[in-house]
């Protein structure tokens, strides 16, 4: 483990009092550094929305994000169990685990063989879960679990501890704005996929590459796609569906 990077990361995760602090950027740092430091393939993060439901707020890769989303949709998986119990939940071999059959299948499809979920918790309050995915079967190194939990703990304390109410409000504003941006991205994926006759994952790759190439924020580009303010390629002929649902003209 890279000691210098580790100590830099701890500093990074406590530096939340800066004026332009952004909760989503902060949580992205947590997932990205987890991958760099802990020798895992991907990391994802679920956070409790004030409405009382869990939401995917950060992931080191799109595959990890989709897998987190899948757990929420199928209402099963190690991250949910971890959040509900407030305890770490691990699985060393997803091909031989009966606890979450749908999740295990989906995770293996995405190339993951083992998972470790760590609670984001301060005393009785569980605010989310950090999930580490690995491509190879086998137990996680105890040091990896230990350091992963330490990163999750530091991030949790930074978000919860010693905050004025005004700051809680700011975090909530940012979280809701980010969650809505994610919806815009999904809408743009659908629009592009249909227009170009590709699947939604390919549409995401297109959007992401375009955002990088034009140095735009993904959410801004997505909004321009959906609002129709960005000129799109001509329709590419969508695959035929097996059935057509008729709806009346308004």
């Amino acid at each position: 483990m890279d000691g210098q990077l580790l100590s830099d990361t701890f500093v990074e995760l406590t530096d939340t009092m800066v004026a332009d602090f952004d909760i989503i950027d902060f949580l992205h740092v947590l997932t990205a550094r987890s991958v760099e430091l802990l020798d895992v393939s991907a990391a994802g993060l679920l956070l409790a929305d004030p409405r009382g439901e869990l939401r995917v707020v950060a992931a080191s890769s799109e595959a990890a994000r989709v897998l987190e989303l899948f757990q929420l949709q199928s209402d099963q998986g190690p991250c949910l169990d971890c959040f509900r119990s407030g305890q770490p939940v691990g699985c060393v071999d997803l091909s031989a685990d009966p606890r979450w059959p749908q999740f295990a299948h989906q995770a293996q499809q995405a190339g993951f063989s083992a998972v470790q979920a760590l609670p984001m918790r301060l005393r009785d309050q569980v605010i989310g879960a950090l999930n580490l995915f690995r491509g190879t079967v086998g137990a996680f190194d105890p040091e990896v679990v230990h350091v992963g939990q330490a990163l999750a703990d530091v991030a949790t304390i930074s978000l919860l501890h010693d905050r004025s109410m005004r700051r809680t409000d700011t975090l909530n504003e940012q979280l809701q704005t980010a969650l809505n941006s994610r919806v815009v991205i999904e809408q743009a994926k659908g629009k592009l996929a249909e227009r170009l006759g590709i699947d939604v994952n390919q549409a995401f790759t297109l959007l992401r590459d375009q955002a990088r190439n034009s140095n735009q924020r993904l959410s801004d580009l997505a909004r321009a796609v959906v609002d129709g303010t960005l000129a799109l390629p001509a329709p590419g002929g969508s695959p035929r569906a097996s059935r057509a649902g008729r709806i009346r003209q308004p």
Binding site: R166, A188, E194
Partner: protein, 230 residues
Amino acid sequence: MTSIERRGRVWGLVAEQAAARGRRVSAADVCAAVVPEVQVTGAWLSAGPDAQAGHLLQVTDEVARQIADLQLTLGEGPLLDASASSGPVLASELADGEWGSRWPAFGPAASQAGAAAVFAFPLVVGAIRAGVLGLYRDRPGPLSDFQLGDALVFADTATLLLLDAHERPADLNSYRAEIDQATGMLTEQLNVGITDAFVRLRAYAYVNDIQLADVARDIVARRLRLVLDP
């Protein structure tokens, strides 16, 4: 409380308001229902794709009307900011320096009108903009976590009611990426804007009595295409 229970409870409170007035549930009922539940003094609801052009659909009292009007007159305030960022604006103390400098005209005018705290919730689903729900308190202070959760669910309910009359509590379940993806796909299939696509998707699920999430999944998997009857 789970989010499903919360959504069901909020829906029930809004429906009670409608029943008490002897009419169908509409977005306007959200205002009366949200005030006692999240312990604010009053509420207003404006409808329309952007706050400047939006029209005031409902107010609970004269102060709420004044706050809503002030923002349009002065061209600044939480309603406009919430509409611009597509995220809530939680101004728990208007007299506080930070909010005062953000809205130098609106802050003092709203305080004069009788509001000490204002909370604005954009009624959005991604790129769809349906309006803004505003709440105010005559005393400063933040919404508690629980009140904020409730307020967000009231705003979700108002959004769906503004967009579409076919509301079913069963569809008020948690977020599904496929619903948003399917909505985007329908803009191309039906050659309509994102708001229309959303309404058509829900109408199809309602008319055919299928779960919204199931319709969306079929559209994304390209097992189902929606076509307009000529």
